[in-house]
Each structure stands twice: as C-alpha cells, then as structure tokens.
C-alpha cells in the first residue's frame, strides 16, 4: 500500500511533468549543441582517463565456435553491412586519426622512432635472467606451438615457445619481428625475446600438469621436457633456441572480440568492428601476412592505475606472421583465400587444376627460418586472413588509407633493423624477409594511397594551407596539381558558405569574424576520376595565434 505521505497529488504530478518537460527541452537544446561538428578540445589526441572496471569475468573463446561463426556467419553479416550500409570508423578524432588510448598509441608514423627504439619495441631490457635456473610453472597446452610458462630468478614470468622441428628459427623470429612491427604501428604487444639456454637451465616446479593432445592430464616430467627438446636443433654450444614472451602486465581478462563490445568494460562503448584500430589491422596484417588474426591471438588485461583497474588491449602471438604458420611453414594459399571457400571450389574442381593462379606460381627460397613468404604474389586489395574477420570486412578506404600511410612510413633501413631482431643465423634469410617487407610495403602504398586523395599532415604555414601529397612522397604516382576553394563554416549548424574569389592555398583575408574556415581541395581541372572523385575538406579554427587545422572530411 502506498502511504498518503508519498502519494503524488495531481498538482505535484504536473509540477514533476513540467520539470521533466523543461528537462526534455533542455536536452533537445543540448542535442542541437551535440550536433556540432567540432568541440573545443578537438582534435582529440588522447582519450579521457578510463573509468575503473569492476566485477570482470575472464572471457573464454571457443575456437570451434569462433571458426564456424566467422567462416559462415560473418561474411553474410558484416560482409553485407559493409556493402549495403557502410559506416565510418567511430574511434577517430576530427582529423581522422586515432587518439592515444588503451587500444592504441601513436608511435612511428606520427612520432618518429629511432632505429634503437624500433628494435627495442615494447621492451628489450628484461629477457629471462640467464643467471639462475628457469622454473617451469605451467605447461602451455593452448595454441598450436608447444611450450612452458617459466619464471626466472627475478620472478619475471615468460611463455617459452619452440620452433617447429622442421623449421628452426622460423616461428620464433616471426614472433619477435611481429611484436616489434605491431608495436611501432601503435598496438600493445608483449616483450618477445629470442633466448638460448641449456636443458639443465629448466627446472620443473612440483605439481606442473601437462595436457597431451588427447586431453589427458599428467604431471610434467623431466623426460617430457627432454622429449620436447629432442625435436629441437641443438646448437654448436649445446644450447637450444626458443622464444620467451614476457607475461603481460595486469590480470588476464581473456581475448577481445573483433565485433561488439565487452559488456563488463565501461570504457568499451564503440563496437569493435567500427574501430579503425581493428579495421586498419587488416592492412598491417596483409603487410606481414598475419593470417591468424582470430580472437585467440588477442588479450585484454586489467591494469591498475590511480587506484582503479581498467582494460588494456593487446595483440599477442605473432607466430603466424611472415612465412610461419606456427607449427609449420605457411601453405601457399594463405593470405590469398579463406579456409572455407564456396564459389571457387567447384570451379577449381571442374578445371582439373589447369587454371593456375599467380600465388601458385610464386618462387619461394629454401632458407632456414623463412618458411613461405614472398612479395611477388602479394595483392594488397585481395589479401585475406585464414578466417573472415568482422572488423576487416568493415574496413573502408579511409581506414585503409590511415593504415597504409603508417606502413609507408617505414624506411628500408628501419624495416631491416626490425627484421634483424629475429636473429636469423643465415643472413640471406634476413635479406629475403626484409626485401619482401619492403616490396609488400610499396604495394600497399600503391594500392591504398590511390583509393583516396592521399593528402595528409595539413597545416597552416606562413598564411598558407600546406599539406603532404603522400602519393608523390612515396612515389606511387607523379606529382599532381590541386585546387583549393574556401568557405566559411558554421559549426553550430554545419553549413558551408563559399567565399567568392577565395581560392588557392593562401588563407582568405576577408572573413575576419568567422570562427571556422573550410578549404575544399580537389584535383586540378581535368582529373575527376578515381581518388580525384572525392575532394578533401579541411576545417580550420581561429585561435589566439591564428587559424589551426581542426578537422577534415575525406
């Protein structure tokens, strides 16, 4: 029964309704404000501090479900969405760049890293301590490469993984090189080290359980460790080579999905398939032929800061990059088609195999540590991971442009420096990987920078609007002429008003009162096809020191 004291009278109900109505109107008014294109803090260079996460459950991914869903559902769902109702990435700032966040940190492309920084990657100062035994605390039974979890004398924890016996150096080198490259590209990656050790360096902690391929759990014994090492090549000094991947900081919270958001992360408000950081990963993955971009190779951790915990998102396990497939060399089809193919299969069956595709004719060198990696058969626009990825399917030309310009930012010397961290014993292997990465970089630049008007780094200098033409800078096409037309921009209503007689790179001097200017840049007369069909509009905002670039539309 409702007490009379708290019963709402008609009059008072009307009062509440009136206040609510005022609130609604106020909200509507703010909604108008909401619609404005630029806010005072645009372009955002860093996302606001994350809210603390509580009550987090460890997310587990079922590999079979993941494979089935992405092979059979994703192409029909995200594939159709991308085709019929594409959506621009939502995690970008008004310049089309990614603010620093728990997903991504702007690194090499925008803040040049030195060769030493590139080689250092996420860290190269804490390999497992060679002065003291490495205690095996767990046997790694997930993933496709065998290994152990070890702790060194300083109690630092690592995952110790081995190369497939027939392909020494291949997987470990790929894992290290991949971690450095993706770190430089802005992602969170683990510290990976090539290590050499003697068998007696490994000490089994009591109670370690090993799961065999049949799911049978048995205590790990010295004999089992020796059996694993028996398949590994023993080096001249009696040591074995392995990859040591340092345990990630924070509490493991499980892999992240390439679709949707995490229901227990307050900061995860943008569906992952609409994150450029994940869409653009398609281009980076294509560069290094990272075919296994499934959830299993990602990890969320809960890191502590300022008394709270928040999610940090990692890419892990790069053993499926370059010529490696983890437990074997790549098959030649990898990177060229999905595992489950429908249309092509019947045609190929009927052709008796007489129609030979380009990737089937590629020449691969037989070099220790290389596996199957080439540039000749690489087609950036056609590259595919092993299983469809929802975020990759949603990638649009702007996402790809963002990623391609980052790839193009690596110089030949920088690529070589990173490849050297794979510590190939045969220098020809490093040469081949480097050469392939350089050629694949160039192909990516040529393919994706030509999809949009590849103008970047807009700035005001000496009263002129300046920018870089990336197509010319990276030599993917000859220098082009551009026309610039000016407008004023009403930020509250989103209206562009062209300024008569205001063209050319010089900022117009007429509209002294306007807060925003917009410069529409298009190809000079005569070119209207391809990338020229889509002019770029650059927005400038007046500040105390003059106009500054605040945003752009491609």
């Amino acid at each position: 029964m409702v007490s009379g004291k708290h019963k709402l009278s008609m009059r008072n109900a009307l009062s509440v309704a009136a206040l609510a109505a005022v609130g609604t109107l106020a909200q509507h008014g703010f909604a108008e404000t909401h619609a404005k294109k630029f806010y005072a803090d645009d372009p955002l260079l860093q996302e606001p501090a994350p809210l603390p996460a509580k009550g987090v459950a460890i997310r587990k991914v079922d590999h079979v479900y993941d494979f089935l869903e992405n092979s059979y559902v994703t192409p029909r769902r995200e594939g159709k969405l991308a085709k019929h109702s594409p959506k621009r990435a939502l995690d970008v700032n008004t310049l089309g760049e990614l603010p620093d966040s728990s997903w991504y940190t702007n690194r090499h492309a925008s803040r040049r890293m030195s060769i030493a920084d590139l080689q250092r990657g996420p860290g190269n100062g804490t390999p497992p301590d060679a002065n003291g035994s490495w205690r095996i605390t767990a046997a790694k039974s997930d993933g496709i490469t065998p290994g152990f979890v070890i702790e060194d004398k300083r109690n630092n924890r690592y995952v110790l993984k081995f190369d497939p016996p027939q392909y020494p150096e291949m997987c470990s080198a790929a894992d290290v090189i991949g971690s450095k490259l993706f770190y430089a590209l802005g992602y969170n990656t683990p510290e990976n080290y090539i290590v050499h050790f003697r068998p007696d360096h490994l000490e089994i902690t009591k109670g370690v359980i090993y799961s065999d391929p049949n799911g049978r759990k048995t205590p790990l014994t010295r004999h089992m460790v020796d059996e694993l090492l028996r398949t590994q090549p023993k080096l001249a000094d009696g040591t074995y080579r392995a990859l040591a991947s340092r345990w990630l900081d924070g509490e493991v919270a499980g892999p992240f999905d390439y679709r949707g958001t995490r229901s227990d992360d307050p900061n995860d408000t943008i569906p992952h398939e609409h994150r450029r950081v994940l869409r653009g990963l398609a281009v980076f993955s294509a560069w290094v032929n990272h075919h296994d971009t499934s959830q299993i190779n990602t990890m969320d951790t809960l890191v502590s800061e300022d008394g709270g915990q928040y999610f940090k998102h990692y890419l892990i396990d790069f053993g499926s990059t370059l010529g490696s497939r983890g437990n074997t060399a790549k098959h030649p089809w990898i990177g060229h088609q999905y595992t489950v193919v429908h249309k092509d299969t019947l045609a190929r069956a009927a052709s008796l195999g007489l129609f030979v595709r380009r990737w089937e004719r590629s020449a691969y060198p037989k070099l220790k540590g290389v596996g199957l990696f080439d540039a000749w058969s690489f087609e950036p626009l056609e590259w595919k991971p092993e299983v469809p990825n929802p975020a990759f399917l949603m990638m649009d030309n702007e996402d790809a442009f963002w990623a391609a310009k980052q790839v193009a930012a690596f110089t030949d010397d920088e690529i070589r420096a990173i490849v050297e961290t794979g510590r190939f014993s045969d220098p020809r292997a490093a040469d081949w990987i480097t050469e392939c990465l350089i050629k694949r970089r160039d192909k990516i630049a040529e393919a994706w920078l030509g999809k949009v008007l590849a103008l970047d780094r807009f700035r005001v200098a000496d009263g002129r609007l300046a920018f870089d033409d990336l197509s010319a800078k990276y030599g993917t096409r000859t220098t082009r002429s551009y026309e610039v037309r000016w407008s004023t921009y009403d930020n509250n209503h989103g209206v562009l008003t062209p300024l008569s007689n205001a063209s050319g790179p010089e900022l117009p001097s007429g509209p002294t009162a306007t807060e925003y200017l917009a410069a529409t840049i298009q190809c000079a007369a005569g070119e209207a096809a391809g990338a020229c069909a889509h002019p770029v509009t650059v927005y400038l905002r007046r500040s105390e020191t003059g106009f500054q670039v605040v945003g752009l539309d491609r």
Binding site: L44, V340, T345, L352, G353
Partner: protein, 406 residues
C-alpha cells in the same frame, strides 16, 4: 496542497537525469565520459551467447570427444575392417606410459555382418636415443564375408564366393633407424588362421565353389611361424598427405607351416611411392608401384587366404575388393591431385596391375586397368579426413569411402 520535499526532489531528479548528460558537453571528452558513465551503469559480466554455449556443450559431450579422440585417449574407431565387410565401429584407446616411452593402443571394432576385430599394440618408438624402435602387437580378426573369385588373372567376376576368415597374429618388430629416413628391422610373428563358410547368402561359400587343387588351403588351414626383415627409406615431406619426396620399402617374410607341412613359403613385398610437387605443391603427381612375390618349396603351396590380392581402395580401385588372387602380383598407380580449396582436393587416377603364377611373368603386360577420380576432404592434420574414390574398369565402377581418424 503543499508540494512535499520528496516530490520536489523527484522532479529535479528527472530533470537532472534527462538534461545533465549533455549539459556540459562543450568538450569531446565530456561526451565520451558521458557515454562511458552511461555504460558503467549497465555493466554485466561477460557470458557466451546461446549459440556459443551450445557449441561448447557439444564439444564437451562424450560422443564428440570420442569422435575427435579427445576423451583422455578414448576414441571411436570406425570404417571398414576390410572393404566389403560392412561399416564397422568400436572403441579405441591410446595411452602413453612411462612418460611416453611406451605407447599402448587398444582397438576393437564390430560390424553388422558379424565381423569383428580386436587388437593390442605396445610400441616403444624411441629407445637408446632414438636409434631403436620396438613394437609388439597382437590382433584377432573374424571377417565374415571375405570375397574370393578363384585364383589367377582369369577368374570370373560372376564367380564370386565368400568365406569366413578368422586369424590371430602375435608379432614383434624390433628396428633400427640407420639415419634420417632410413630404417631396417626384423619381423617375428605367430599367425593362426582358420577359414569357414561365408556369412553372405548372396554368394556361395568358397569351399562349395572351389576345390583344394585350385584353391590351396580351402580345406585345411594351418598356423605359421613368420620371420623376416624389412628395410625402408622415407623422405616424404608429410607422411599423412605427401606432396613431395618418396618412400621405398622391401619386406621379406618366411612363412613356416607348423601343422600341415604343406604351406611353407616365402613372400617378398616391394613398394615404392614418389611424389612430384607442381606449383608449390598445389598440384601433385603421385606415382606408386608395388609387387608381392611368393615362392614355395617342393611340395609346398601358398594358401589362398595369404596370397597377394588385387582390387579395392588401395590397389585397383575400379574392381571389387580382392577381385584377383594369385601367388604373385604387380601393380602401378598414377595420380594427379589438385588443390580446390584449403579443405578440398580432387584427384584423377589410373591403376593397373595383375596377379600371376610364375616369376617369369613379372612384367607390365596384360594388366587389368582402371581410371577414376577422387574427392578428398582434408582434416585438421592436413591429411584427408574423408575421401571418396570412384574407379571405372571394364567390370563396372566402384565407389570407395575412406575415413581417416588420424
């Protein structure tokens, strides 16, 4: 009536809730914070969706684990015991012992036509630093409908009979790995054989159709001591589904009749496979040749139930299983295989072979031949998990289904 404090707060609360989220949205960061705060109020722990829960449930179910061999070493073994004996199914158990130094395998299968099989195998794959290997195995089979068409290359397709084959084999194989790919070993075995009337009512029983003169051993069976050796060189790139390399083997076994004194003989099996990769292994030409030669001393014969035979999924695929029996056989196969998708391969093949009586007839003249095509569905190990071969010969066509649970 005076408005209560509670009502005032309620009205204000509604106002604040509706208007406040955007009241300070003059900054992008405010918008982002508002979205996050909004979500923070609606957090739920992660949980798999309904479809994923269903898949996980299936994966954890015993039937699924038995099919995939993940039930702590216990799995289902299925497929034919011998072609034509009907679909067979049964449990298989594999257990590494002594830290994997010894592997125990137990296998039992039965089919609807009253055939069954049971076996035990103990193997020590690596002894003395990988140099020595040792296998002990014992198997009992009872195949209710083994086909028999009569001896020699001119047997009649319409003369099919059937017999029951019951045998028990106890075998020891010690071996040594001489160097990478090259191994040799010895074979010691005791084989007890019994034959009887075939189970099929469609075909006449063998002993009623063929006499002991044309079909040695049809009236009396014996037990054998078997001893011999083998040598093989294997440099295939992936044994389950090779794309390059080859395997060459020779096996010599002497059969000593323990009871009748009439069935002692020696048997030499030669086998060679060569795989030629084209276009990065997406096309493979596979060539295979094999020959089984037997010779018996004076007054001795080779009993029909251990004679070399041709016809079936591993020999002449356009002919029925064990269509041709003879003292000797020679066979060649050629196959062209091409990649259709990561999980499907196709192949066309041609098989030819013959059985013959005397070693002088060891040549490639007067061969029975067939052509055919194959569809192969590759499993998680990269090899064919399931394949369908269809062979065409002048005697008609045969379809062979093969399941590989490796």
């Amino acid at each position: 009536m005076k408005q209560s404090k509670w009502e005032t707060f309620l009205g204000l609360g509604v106002f604040v809730l509706w208007a406040a989220p955007n009241a300070h949205a003059q900054l992008r960061t405010d918008l982002i914070r508002a979205e996050r705060s909004d979500k923070a109020a609606k957090l739920t722990p992660w949980a798999p969706d309904k479809a994923e829960r269903f898949i996980v449930k299936v994966e954890h179910s015993l039937p699924y684990q038995l099919l995939t061999g993940d039930a702590h070493g216990l799995s289902m073994s299925f497929g034919n015991m011998v072609p034509g004996s009907g679909f067979a199914i049964g449990p298989k158990y594999t257990r590494p012992m002594h830290d994997g130094r010894i592997v125990l395998e137990l296998d039992a299968r039965a089919s609807a036509n009253e055939s069954y099989l049971g076996g035990l195998k103990l193997s020590a794959p690596r002894v003395f630093s990988d140099r020595i290997f040792l296998t002990f195995s014992t198997q009992h089979r009872n195949i209710s409908e083994m086909p028999y068409y009569g001896a020699g290359p001119n047997s009649d397709k319409n003369g099919r009979s059937n017999y029951r084959l019951e045998d028990t084999n106890i075998e020891v194989r010690p071996g040594v790995r001489i160097f990478k790919g090259l191994s040799a070993g010895a074979i010691g075995s005791y084989l007890a054989v019994n034959t009887g009337s075939g189970h099929s009512t469609r075909f006449i029983s063998t002993e009623q159709q063929f006499g002991p003169a044309a079909t040695p051993g049809v009236d009396r069976q014996t037990n054998f001591w078997r001893g011999g050796g083998f040598v093989e060189y294997d440099w295939r790139d992936q044994p389950l589904y090779p794309t390059s390399g080859g395997k060459y083997s020779a096996r010599y076994v002497r059969y000593l009749d323990r009871h009748e004194g009439a069935y002692s003989f020696m048997r030499l099996d030669l086998d060679a496979s060569q795989y030629i990769p084209l276009f990065n292994g997406t096309r493979v030409i596979a060539l295979h040749g094999s020959s089984s030669l037997t010779t018996a001393g004076d007054g001795q014969v080779v009993p029909f139930y251990v004679q070399p035979a041709l016809g079936g999924s591993n020999t002449l695929r356009g002919y029925r299983f064990n269509r041709f029996y003879g003292d000797n056989s020679v066979m060649v196969n050629a196959e062209y295989r091409w990649f259709c998708s990561p999980i499907v391969d196709m192949a066309v093949f041609a098989d030819a072979g013959k059985v013959f009586e005397r070693w002088e007839e060891w040549n490639l003249h007067d061969l029975e031949s067939n052509v055919g095509f194959s569809v192969r569905f590759k499993g998680r190990t990269g090899g064919p998990a399931f394949s369908v071969d269809t062979g065409f010969s002048h005697e008609g066509f045969q379809i062979w289904f093969r399941v590989n649970t490796n």
